[in-house]
Symmetry: C2
Subunit: 466 residues, 2 copies
């Protein structure tokens, strides 16, 4: 009885924060939301989960040796956390293995370069290939080039990735990685190397998915670390003719079956309506996938657990989805909307965590415009966790990005990702880069979000499709 007055006081404060609109239901929900936030920020659960994943599984490339180890880990973890229902859904994934990668400057100043194969790249000939490089500042510049300038050469795209809180630098430069090989091959290049899509100055190259196009020659594609890209520039300043050699031995090995792994907290009033929070279970193979996306996995798994620990289940079902093969092209996300196409109209709202473990500073949504203020009101207790209420322009995250066009409302919980691209897709993506306090704040935000949306009395549809 002693704690009641102070809890009531907290309730009154929250109520007054909300102005005079709050119903009694909302008063109770906000009290619970406040309690959930407190439990989450004071819990180590999330850190323990990401530690377990990165230590006991480690790297888990979709289709690779550890992929099904990760799937098993996820099922076991959901079960040990006491989720009401745990299941998995098959996802067909390509099998690509990295092999080795090496490169050197052959002339004018022989020396090794640090590179890594881009995900999906074909191999070079077994003994490598050797050619002059031709530098372009951006993919757009490459597209404008005369084919004669490119033919027979190794294209070098040298665009720097800017550091931004919201990660906007990535979108500006990543085209060189994903589409550079197509543009280079069209003009007769024999290979492509890019300045890593990263904000660090470490001697580590950033991998990531690249694409080919039917009918256009598949050429080997690799990334150079930032200091190595600088080095090529310094050499080019001294001598316009720079010859490098490149040796990559990745292999394409057909297809295998991976799984989206799902844990549910069954809603007590509207069990068929779903609040989806997700992350992707796969990772690139060179780090242990701590920030990308072990953090997200631990955030959504732990958020669900905090809701499971409530005395009663919320109204709607909270579905935690760990997607397969995000890194290879949102494959698990695309499969999910196929598998669940008949159920999508029961998806109340969806959000994915896939940007590391930096503090969440804002939540954006994409809901019916006339309901936007009402939803913000319902989410307003997230402010006690340092989360502002933002705009109605959310995308939802990579694996749920196809949902808005299918009519499903989404939310984006915006993280401070200033250092995310220092480590992204490198061997350096390890658990020491995660701040346990920031991770706990993320979990608190997802817990509040999932709970409040599972209790919401607002109809969020129809959303404006873009």
């Amino acid at each position: 009885m002693k704690t009641l007055p102070s809890l009531s006081l907290a309730g009154i404060i929250i109520t007054s924060l909300l102005g005079c609109q709050s119903s009694n239901l909302q008063y109770q929900d906000n009290k619970t939301s406040h309690q959930l936030q407190q439990s989450a920020v004071n819990s180590n659960l999330g850190y323990d989960i990401v530690e377990s994943l990165t230590v006991e599984v480690g790297p888990r490339l979709a289709g690779g040796k550890n992929d099904l180890v990760a799937v098993k880990w996820a099922e076991d973890k959901f079960k040990s956390l006491g989720y009401d229902k745990v299941y998995k859904e098959p996802v067909k994934v390509p099998v690509w293995s990295r092999g080795d990668a090496s490169a050197e400057v052959v002339s004018p100043f022989p020396q090794p370069l640090v590179i890594t194969a881009l995900g999906g790249s074909v191999a070079t000939p077994e003994n490598g290939l050797t050619a002059e490089i031709v530098r372009f500042h951006t993919l757009a510049d490459l597209k404008k080039a005369e084919p004669a300038q490119v033919k027979g050469k190794i294209v070098f795209i040298d665009q720097k990735t800017e550091r931004h809180k919201a990660g906007n630098g990535y979108g500006k430069s990543v085209g060189g990685r994903s589409k550079g090989a197509i543009a280079a091959a069209k003009k007769g290049a024999v290979a492509i190397v890019i300045r890593s899509i990263g904000t660090d100055h470490d001697r580590m190259a950033h991998t990531g998915a690249m694409r080919y196009k039917d009918g256009i020659k598949k050429i080997p594609a690799a990334a150079l670390s930032a200091p190595d890209a600088n080095q090529l520039n310094a050499i080019l300043k001294r001598d316009k003719k720079v010859v490098i050699s490149l040796k990559l031995s990745p292999q394409h090995l057909g297809y295998s079956t991976s799984y989206n792994v799902i844990g549910e907290i069954k809603g007590q009033n509207k069990p068929e309506e779903i609040v989806l929070i997700g992350a992707h279970l796969d990772s690139w193979d060179e780090g242990t996938g701590a920030l990308d996306d072990g953090a997200g996995v631990s955030i959504v798994m732990a958020a669900g657990k905090h809701i499971l620990d409530l005395p009663t289940r919320p109204a709607r079902t909270v579905r935690v989805v760990l997607y397969a093969a995000e890194e290879l092209g949102l494959i698990g996300g695309k499969q999910y909307v196929k598998t669940h196409k008949n159920e999508l109209n029961n998806h109340y709202i969806a959000a994915e965590s896939d940007f590391g473990a930096g503090y969440i500073y804002r939540i954006d949504v994409n809901v019916a415009p006339q309901k936007f203020e009402q939803v913000k009101n319902e989410l307003s207790s997230m402010k006690i966790n340092g989360v502002e209420l933002g705009n109605n322009e959310a995308g939802g995250g990579p694996d749920v990005s196809m949902m808005p066009s299918l009519g499903v409302p989404v939310a984006s919980l915006r993280q401070d990702g200033r250092d995310y691209f220092d480590y992204h897709h490198t061997p350096n993506d390890t658990i020491d880069k995660i701040d346990p306090k920031a991770l706990a704040q993320n979990i608190a935000a997802y817990t509040q979000f999932a709970y409040l949306m599972a209790q919401s009395t607002t109809d969020l549809r129809p959303i404006k499709k873009k």
Copy 2:
């Protein structure tokens, strides 16, 4: 004529800093020292030199492909800077080539580990070796262990290197790297892996020299990156039996000839007396040797150039020595004192720069105790460059460390090396880690030091030998 009054004013200020002891000669020397400091901090010369070395030569392992490229570069650079005399002296160096290095956790949680061979390590069998690990916190703990605990296993020494301004952490942990293989082999270990001797948390392993001992089995030796050492600990916490595999393919390929490369500024009054400033030209093979020791090379080469630019030569000869094969055991430094044994009594004082490019905050010396105050007085204009006058306990730097026991006075210009061991002996030792302003301040300090010592009127001997 317009600038004369202000120069005189500077001279008066310096004179008053020195109290009333300054002679007219010293007044002139301090004025020149002040001018040298100003020219040096406002010059890009040093940065241009280290950029030239790291771009046009890059990595330059003693005995390796680029070693003689570096020697040629150094001779050409001395000549182009206008040194009075440029020559080289042969140094016999062992030839060791790194080959490849890989490691994995075999059980309980299969995953790759990031390692690098320690310099001088033998190879594993061609298909690698697989064994259980046994962890020790320090080399001392390994030495105390029961052989039965170690026999047939891979020793894992897990000591962290502390971060200190003066780099003291290195001395505490480096024994595990240099002597661990001997201690482990004595107890029957099949290999040794150590936590990298480094202060960073990057996924890069730090190489560095290790030793064997006649009569004790040579076992393969490698370093793990800090996150990988953490990972082994996290796995050991879950399962005491951890099996790893290790594959290293370094080769010992006999001996070859390298060179100490020397540039001189001939003294006009006492040309036979030598002020030696040095650095080592060789580097490890994975970075470009920017901090270790391209910085030192550029500091002493540029310092000499600023003295060359004076209207007249100083009294004594300034000898800039770029040592061969420091990394393989101070080989160039040891050869130098042999080659110059009849001239050592003409070495007035010696100092080496080999701790990166952080700001110099203090100069220590090792001179005759009764001359210590007088020398400090002569060096006092270094204060305008932010350099304090320190103690009489200097060691002089690795390649001159054998000189004090041979009676030669030395100085240690102490650098802020707080981040030096973040990059030391890793691929990450690249030029972007050098702050051009701090480098210029180092050059100013070496310029003032070399000039003032070349002009000194104090007899620095006999020093106290330790």
